[in-house]
């Protein structure tokens, strides 16, 4: 999952959790607030009554009676003032029922006793519990609305910020990591960002890519130089041996020894030539503007390699469409590529084996050639390394110098072809070459 997606999910998730918590707690909270507020107003009212009593005397309320009671029209509030036993002491706020004019109602009641002229009085102020909670619902709805608006607003702000924050990372990934073809030819641009972590990451990547490039160029240069330098001494060796061999007076053992030496020199020469070929391909010294007909190419290859097919009694089934044509190729290199594959298909085949060469167009317009043999197969562990230089697979056969497939790989890369291998031990191997957007 992408970092920005993760952050988005986290931000939205955490905020939704908070909203949920708040929604669950809201009725309780509002009830608490309403109840606290009621207690507060009851106390305020008590204080007011006591102030009036101390200022104007109890008669202000009693007006000659010995007690006082009053309630509002809908009996939502009442007040009562009456004398009680001197021993009674109260200062409470409680929910209790009161009977007012034959209606039994639930009230929050403040009860308070106080002394006046050495007499004990009880003051009761009540408020119906229904009226206490009457604003809870609208209050809840309003709070919820405000909350959701705020949350949505913060989520939007957060997401915008996250997007801006993460943008350099996406740029680094886009320009440095995905769709990169080795070797990295174009110069690396630094990403503009004020986030030091990203800056550091970007700089490290550029450094790393430059180092890889440098190592690759050095290796390429070395291979090219070394192979060139080797050619002259190899020439000398080869020509000296040739001159020695053309001496008529040579005895049998000497000439056999010379032949062996010549074979070794030839082997050395071929390794050097292969390395040179690879380095020339990597140095892009070949022109890619031939149009190649695969059918003709394979016919040429089969003619060239016919003797080997006969030698091992191998049947080859060529099933290539005569209309297929490939553009922007180097014909010699393509010949070498498929020659090496067919050559391997023979070399690692069993006696009286078979080779199938097929082609097809894929749905996305790509063109594909497969070469399948009925040979010894390649062990799974070796599959990844068969294209490496000097890797010897199929050790029991002990043939080849491990460069044939390395050449195949560099030619494929040079033409931007995809190459895939499937193999089953004892059954055979299939090489698939895909020409994209042909």
């Amino acid at each position: 999952m992408k970092l920005s997606t993760k952050l988005t999910l986290f931000i939205t998730g955490s905020k939704l959790a908070i909203v949920l918590l708040f929604v669950l707690a809201l009725p309780f909270l509002i009830k608490q607030i309403a109840s606290q507020y009621t207690n507060y107003t009851l106390n305020q009212q008590r204080q007011k009554v006591l102030d009036i009593v101390s200022r104007n005397g109890l008669d202000y309320y009693f007006q000659g009676d010995d007690s006082y009671g009053s309630y509002t029209m809908l009996k939502e509030e009442f007040i009562a003032l009456l004398p009680v036993e001197p021993s009674l002491k109260m200062d409470t706020i409680k929910d209790s029922q009161r009977l007012i004019e034959s209606d039994t109602l639930n009230y929050r009641v403040l009860s308070y006793t106080f002394n006046n002229d050495n007499k004990n009085y009880l003051l009761e102020i009540g408020k119906t519990t229904d009226s206490i909670n009457q604003y809870n619902k609208p209050l809840q709805q309003f709070a919820l609305f405000v909350l959701i608006t705020l949350i949505v607003l913060t989520i939007l702000i957060d997401l915008t910020f996250v997007r801006i924050l993460v943008r350099p990372l996406a740029k680094i990934i886009g320009t440095k990591l995905t769709n990169r073809r080795f070797p990295f030819k174009d110069k690396q641009e630094q990403i503009q960002t004020s986030t030091t972590d990203f800056k550091y990451l970007d700089e490290s990547l550029i450094l790393l890519m430059n180092q890889i490039n440098e190592a690759f160029y050095k290796e390429r240069e070395f291979t090219s130089n070394a192979s060139h330098e080797l050619m002259t001494p190899i020439s000398i060796l080869q020509n000296k041996l040739e001159n020695l061999l053309s001496d008529e007076n040579l005895d049998g053992p000497t000439s056999l020894a010379l032949i062996e030496m010549m074979k070794t020199v030839t082997r050395l020469k071929n390794i050097t030539k292969s390395l040179l070929l690879i380095s020339r391909i990597e140095n892009e010294q070949y022109i890619r503007d031939d149009e190649v007909k695969p059918l003709l190419l394979f016919n040429e290859i089969i003619e060239e390699i016919d003797h080997r097919l006969e030698e091992k009694h191998i049947k080859i089934f060529l099933n290539i469409s005569p209309d297929s044509s490939l553009k922007g190729m180097n014909k010699d290199l393509l010949f070498q590529l498929f020659f090496n594959l067919v050559h391997n298909a023979i070399k690692f085949n069993r006696d009286k084996g078979e080779i199938f060469i097929n082609d097809k167009y894929l749905n996305n317009g790509a063109y594909e050639i497969t070469i399948t043999d009925t040979g010894i197969g390649i062990p799974k562990d070796d599959l990844a390394s068969i294209f490496d230089r000097f890797k010897k697979t199929n050790l029991q056969e002990d043939v080849g110098y491990g460069l044939g497939l390395a050449i195949v790989k560099s030619i494929s890369m040079y033409h931007q072809l995809q190459i895939n291998v499937q193999s089953e031990i004892g059954k055979g191997t299939t090489f698939t070459i895909t020409f994209p957007n042909n």
């Binding site: 020509n239 040739e242 030698e311 080849g400 050449i407």
Partner: protein
């Protein structure tokens, strides 16, 4: 035939000289650009072999000026540089052939022979061998009036042996001639033997081929 070998690698030049001498070519050596030019001023040559990489100049420049002083000579460029541009340049400047190092001296000699045949327009050449005649131009082996069909590779092999008759050719030399500069990693195979076997079989139907000898462990020879 007079040959000038312009090659800065002395050992290599000596080996070329030694080989060509056996076929009665007269060789002069020049180990750098300057002496190469001097020799060209002083002498007339039939063949001029030029290494492109000289310590004091480019072989292609020698080719340019030599074309004036020795217009009738045949030029073969020898080089370790094997890129296409050099090859095209060399041939454009009038070189007759181009050999990439390392090459077999035998291959050099047969290229020289081919150039000679071309220069002197030996077109109706029929090489006799045993009771057969070989037409190199039409690539035919003829017994009396009968044409014998050899495959392309078989004919290449057969004519190469014939052009170098009385010389033992090794399997590596033969296969390199047939395969050219093509990169191929497998020389131990007995496919040269298979080709020879086929050639013998085809020719033996008509007449004896004991002149085509197997030299045990070494290679083949046409003896005459």
């Amino acid at each position: 035939m007079k040959v000038l070998i312009i090659e800065d690698e002395k050992t290599l030049a000596y080996e070329m000289e030694a080989f060509l001498k056996k076929s009665f070519y007269l060789c002069d050596l020049a180990h750098n650009f300057r002496t190469g030019l001097e020799q060209l001023e002083l002498n007339k040559y039939d063949f001029i072999l030029i290494d492109l990489n000289l310590p004091d100049g480019d072989g292609l420049d020698i080719l340019k000026s030599a074309k004036k002083s020795n217009p009738d000579a045949a030029y073969i460029i020898i080089t370790a540089r094997t890129n296409l541009k050099d090859r095209v340049n060399g041939l454009d400047l009038g070189a007759d052939d181009y050999l990439a190092k390392p090459f077999y001296l035998l291959e050099l000699q047969s290229r020289m022979q081919a150039i000679t045949r071309r220069k002197f327009s030996i077109t109706e050449e029929l090489l006799p061998i045993g009771e057969f005649n070989v037409d190199l131009q039409k690539r035919l082996v003829i017994f009396k009036e009968q044409q014998i069909e050899l495959s392309r590779k078989e004919f290449d092999l057969f004519s190469y042996l014939l052009l170098h008759k009385n010389r033992v050719l090794t399997r590596v030399q033969l296969s390199e001639h047939i395969w050219g500069t093509f990169v191929n990693d497998d020389y131990d195979s007995n496919y040269i033997d298979a080709h020879i076997k086929n050639i013998r079989k085809k020719l033996n139907t008509w007449a004896d081929t004991e002149w085509l000898e197997t030299v045990r462990g070494v290679g083949y020879r046409i003896k005459k």
